[in-house]
C-alpha cells in the first residue's frame, strides 16, 4: 500500500469519516461519558484498543465467514472480546478498572466497533484493518475528549479533573481549575451534551464548506492568473 493510502486512512479516521462528527455513530456512549475530559479520554482509549483488536480478528476470518451470518458472528466476537478485556482489567489492572470499568461494558453497545467491522475490516487485510482501527479510535478519542473538555469547562469550571487517577500522578499538571466559577450545571446534564455536539457539528460543517469553496476557487484562480 502506498503512503497516500495510509494517509487516507488517518485522514478518514480523524476528520472526514470521524466516528462522532461525520458518521454520527456511538452517540449513546458519547453523551453518557463526556461529562469531563478525563472520562472522554478514558472511554476513547478503551474503545480504541477494542476497535483495533476486533478489526484485526474480523479481517482474519473474513474469508471463512459467509455474508449471510456475518453480523451475528461479528456481534459474538465483539461481545466476547469486550468481556475478556473487562475481566482481565478487573483482575490485573484493578485500580485502572475502577476508573475505566464503567466504560468497558458500554463498548459492547458501541456500534462504531460493529460499523468498522462491516465497513472496513471485512473487505481489507489484517494490518490495514488494524491501522483503520487506530485511526478511527484516535478520531473517536479526540472527539470525546473535545466534547468532554467543553462540557467540563462550562459545566464545572475545570479541565481534565481527576486525570491523574486515569493516567498516573505524573499527569496531574493537566488538571486545571477556573477560579471563582461555579459552573453551569446544564452543561454536565444530558441537554448540555446535545448542545455541545450540535455546535461542534455545525462548526465542522462550516469549516468543511469553507475548505471546499477554497478548493473550488483555486483552479479558477490559476486560470485567471494565466
Amino acid at each position: 500500500m502506498s503512503d497516500q493510502a495510509y494517509g487516507r486512512i488517518f485522514k478518514d479516521g480523524l476528520w472526514e469519516q470521524n466516528v462522532v462528527f461525520a458518521q454520527m455513530l456511538a452517540l449513546c456512549p458519547t453523551m453518557a461519558v463526556t461529562t469531563s475530559g478525563t472520562n472522554g479520554l478514558g472511554m476513547g482509549l478503551a474503545s480504541t484498543v477494542v476497535l483495533v483488536v476486533s478489526n484485526m480478528l474480523v479481517a482474519m476470518i473474513r474469508h471463512t465467514v459467509s455474508s449471510q451470518v456475518r453480523i451475528p458472528v461479528f456481534v459474538v466476537l465483539i461481545a466476547t472480546l469486550v468481556t475478556i478485556v473487562d475481566m482481565a482489567m478487573n483482575a490485573w489492572l484493578h485500580e485502572l478498572y475502577k476508573v475505566l470499568g464503567l466504560f468497558i461494558a458500554l463498548i459492547v453497545v458501541n456500534c462504531a466497533i460493529l460499523g468498522r467491522a462491516e465497513a472496513y475490516a471485512v473487505k481489507n487485510g489484517v494490518w490495514v484493518s488494524a491501522l483503520d482501527g487506530i485511526a478511527m479510535g484516535l478520531g473517536f478519542t479526540a472527539a470525546l475528549t473535545l466534547i468532554g473538555l467543553i462540557r467540563e469547562l462550562l459545566g464545572a469550571g475545570t479541565l481534565f479533573a481527576q486525570a491523574s487517577q486515569l493516567l498516573g500522578p505524573s499527569f496531574a499538571f493537566l488538571e486545571v481549575q477556573v477560579p471563582d466559577y461555579g459552573g453551569a450545571l446544564l452543561m454536565i446534564l444530558p441537554p448540555g451534551g446535545f448542545a455541545v455536539l450540535g455546535f461542534l457539528l455545525a462548526g465542522k460543517r462550516l469549516l468543511d464548506q469553507r475548505l471546499a469553496a477554497r478548493a473550488a476557487a483555486l483552479p479558477m484562480a490559476d486560470v485567471a492568473s494565466a
Binding site: V69, T80, M87, W92, A156
Partner: protein
Amino acid sequence: MMLESIREKMAYQPLLLGIVALLASAALALASGATGAAIAAAEAKDLRDSLSEVLPAGLADNDFLSDTVDLEKDGKTVTIYRARQGGAMTAALFKVSERGYAGEIQVLMAVDMSGRILGVRVLKHSETPGLGDKIEVRKTPWVLDFAGKALGEPAAELWAVKKDNGVFEQFAGATVTPRAVVKAVKGGLAFFAAHQREISA
C-alpha cells in the same frame, strides 16, 4: 476455490455460527477461570479498604472480613462485619441504603458498641454531578459530620437536614440527597440498636 463453493451451502451457516459460539464460550470460560481468583482478591481488598476507611485505627486486630453475621433488614440481608480488639468486639460495620434523588445511595457505616457512629462513607450513588455528589468525601467533607453522633445525640427529631429543622447541613440546590443519607444513617443506628444482641453474639 474450495471454500468459495462450500461457503454458500445451506449447512455451512448454522455450522459456522455454532462453531463461533462454541469458540467464544470456550474463550470466556478460560478467561473467567484465569481471572476469577484475582478478581475475588481485588474485590476483597476493595472491601477491606473501604471498611478500614470508616473504622478509626487501633480498633481492630482481627480479620473483620471473615468475622461476619448476616441479619435481615427490610427483607434484605445485611452483612455485619465485626471488628475486635483482643477478642472483645469494638465496632460493627455494615451497609445501609436509601432512595436518593436518582436511585439508591449506598452508605457504609461503623458503629461502636455504645451505638455511637465511628465513621460514615457513601459507597455508591448516582446523584446529580455537581449538586448531589457533595456527599462523596473526595468532593466535600460533609459526610464526616456524622462521626460521634448517636441515636438521641442529637435528639430523634433533630436527625434531619436543616431545612427540616434538623442539625445536618444540606447543599444549595440538592436537599433530597443529604436527606436520604441522613435517613439511611439514622435507620442504620436504629437497626443496630434493635439487633445489638444478635450482632455482638
